[in-house]
């Protein structure tokens, strides 16, 4: 893809990428910042709860904070990273030394994450997402924001170069080349390879979430309803008993529920999806901002979710699944959901985005046979599927309709399942699994003849789609 850069002995700054690097000196503070804040809140709560102000507790808390900070500094001291030969290497650990290698051609996506504290200092964290279902991806926390964004572009470009066989020979050269366009910039002007292109490239914005609609949608969602119920209960209890102290033991629970709503708003606020040459760019976040790039052809499944209350307003949610785990230790509940390209949008927004992601996606037009009504009276009205030689789409759900599109070339395995009820009614379910752990297109409750026919036909269709994908 790029002209092989001249064998440039590359003076001083060329060591930029291949040499060992440290993370930013402030990273320990930022990595532990969240825990420190939680601890601070806890201390305040304790002091507030027992007015006596127990000094021993306070001192022990200070000690804990100190230990956490020192551990952070040590982990910063022993961590270093390097990019060489199309491989990102991270070495870390004092007692249990770890050397991690991330081949860039295997990278599924790279995120730039800024926590609230990191934004104050202008730092960012780089997260690499690999394909493995349970291996953890690479994390570089923290780098200055500009460096992180440049590194992301470079890593993605190098990944592309390494992945395409034509440029395979240039991969190792590509590893050295972008460094020329690094901080010392113009020094490498003699060899301007495409991989070292400047980060701001023309983008086409596909979707931008409306904040007020997002707020409304979250309030109308399940977690919003929980939070509302909790607040209502608290108010009623205080009003009835007249003693606010009664609710203190349940405060933690209430805090958790409210926090989950806040976290959702925080992560989905200001979502912008844009199309760029290196894939779909996704930016979102209020306090903690995340910038992700989803490389083309890495989308394993697309799902549109329409909860009951949202349907009244014609809203829906569009999610994609990308291979690999969403391991975010400090952000569990976010990690368990799929990446929402459209946290909430109109039906037209979703249709447009769907058209961008898939070419001529089919509609779920074949409803389930009437006998399925006996087994699933509550979700029968949404059971439907359709398929062509590229995609399979299946919809299901009781009051919340979920429609899942799966490209046949991404199908990992196909399962035919029949429970005792289904056997009596002459039904069976066919499931298509894709990489990742949450999405399965489930063609539910078809007649046995149809399910059998599907099980016979789909593997061949998937194989054909796969070989087509390899050729193109």
């Amino acid at each position: 893809m790029t002209a092989p850069p001249p064998p440039h002995p590359a003076p001083a700054p060329a060591g930029d990428m291949t040499a060992w690097h440290r993370l930013h000196p402030l990273s320990p503070l930022i990595r532990t910042g969240r825990h420190l804040m939680a601890l601070g809140v806890l201390v305040l709560l304790l002091i507030f709860a027992n007015h006596s102000g127990n000094n021993d507790d306070f001192i022990s808390d200070i000690v804990v904070v100190g230990i956490v900070l020192v551990a952070g500094v040590i982990s910063w001291l022993v961590t270093r990273w390097q990019v060489a030969d199309g491989v990102l290497r991270i070495e870390t650990g004092l007692i249990r030394r770890q050397s991690l290698r991330f081949p860039l051609s295997q990278v599924q996506a790279i995120d730039v994450v800024q926590t609230g504290l990191a934004r104050v200092f202008g730092l960012a964290e780089l997260r690499l997402r690999m394909a493995g279902a349970d291996s953890s991806g690479g994390r570089l926390a923290c780098l200055p924001l500009a460096d992180a964004e440049r590194l992301r572009t470079q890593l993605l470009a190098m990944g592309h170069a390494a992945a395409s066989p034509v440029a395979a020979g240039g991969a190792s050269a590509g590893a050295a080349a972008p460094s020329a366009g690094g901080p010392a910039g113009s020094a490498g002007g003699a060899a301007p390879p495409a991989v070292a292109a400047a980060p701001p490239r023309p983008e086409r914005v596909l979707f931008r979430v409306q904040s007020e609609r997002l707020a409304g949608a979250i309030i109308l969602s399940r977690s919003g309803a929980y939070a509302g119920a909790v607040i209502a209960v608290v108010i009623v209890v205080i009003a009835l008993t007249g003693r606010p102290g009664v609710i203190v033991p349940f405060l933690v629970f209430g805090f958790g529920v409210v926090a989950s709503v806040w976290r959702r708003f925080n992560t989905e606020y200001g979502t912008v999806v844009a199309e760029a040459p290196d894939g779909l760019r996704l930016r979102s976040g209020l306090v903690q901002t995340v910038a992700e790039t989803i490389r083309p052809g890495r989308v394993q499944a697309v799902r549109i979710v329409e909860p009951l209350f949202w349907r009244a307003f014609g809203w829906c949610r569009l999610e994609v699944d990308v291979a690999g785990p969403r391991q975010r230790r400090e952000n569990r509940s976010e990690g368990q959901r799929l990446r929402a390209l459209i946290p909430v949008g109109s039906r037209a927004d979703a249709e447009q985005m769907l058209g961008e992601l898939l070419t001529t996606p089919p509609r779920p037009t074949h409803p389930a046979p009437a006998s399925a009504r006996v087994k699933t009276p509550l979700s029968y009205h949404y059971l439907a599927w359709a398929g062509d030689d590229r995609y399979v789409v299946a919809s299901r759900g009781r009051i919340c309709r979920k429609t899942t599109w799966v490209p046949l070339e991404k199908v990992q395995s196909i399962r035919w399942v029949q429970g005792p009820w289904q056997r009596r009614l002459g039904l069976a379910t066919v499931r298509l699994d894709v990489a990742g752990r949450r999405v399965t297109a489930s063609i539910q409750d078809r007649s046995v003849a149809e399910a059998d026919e599907l099980l016979g036909r789909l593997p061949d269709l998937a194989r054909a789609a796969r070989s087509r994908g390899l050729v193109s």
């Binding site: 279902a133 395995s413 399962r415 035919w416 056997r423 699994d433 990489a435 990742g436 059998d452 016979g456």
Partner: protein, 162 residues
Amino acid sequence: MTAQPGDADIGWQRPSHLLLRARRIQTALVTLPVALVGGIIAGAAGSTGLGLGIGLGLVVVGLLCERFLARRVAAWGYAERRQDLMVKRGVMIRRQSVIPYGRMQFIDVTAGPVERSLGLATVRMHTAAAASDARIPGLDKVDAAKLRDQLASLGEAQAAGL
């Protein structure tokens, strides 16, 4: 292709006949200690008669489980087709999986103590999808190794990216 579940045109292969024995031993190994401990606890807490009753009751539960073992073991089957592997299992909930060779990420051969003592092993295929489940228990050790090598070479030949 008209592959129908349970059809005769797929050459279903079965696990070794020793699998039933392995499953029986495993059931017994669970049932007996549980019955013993349950009986002793009940005997210590209540009367000796109660302890005996509960112990015997748990043994009966184990025997009932044994009644279903044969059917469950007989339900296992696998077929190596040209492009993919089919595995079927289950009596109450019948399942049938198709795993293209090209999608296999890696293959495990495991053998627990009971299986090992009977010369058996379990072959398990992993794809990139966590939901895929394809394992074939109770293969003869030699067959398992052969199957593993065969699957590995087929997988390599047809490997496809994610």
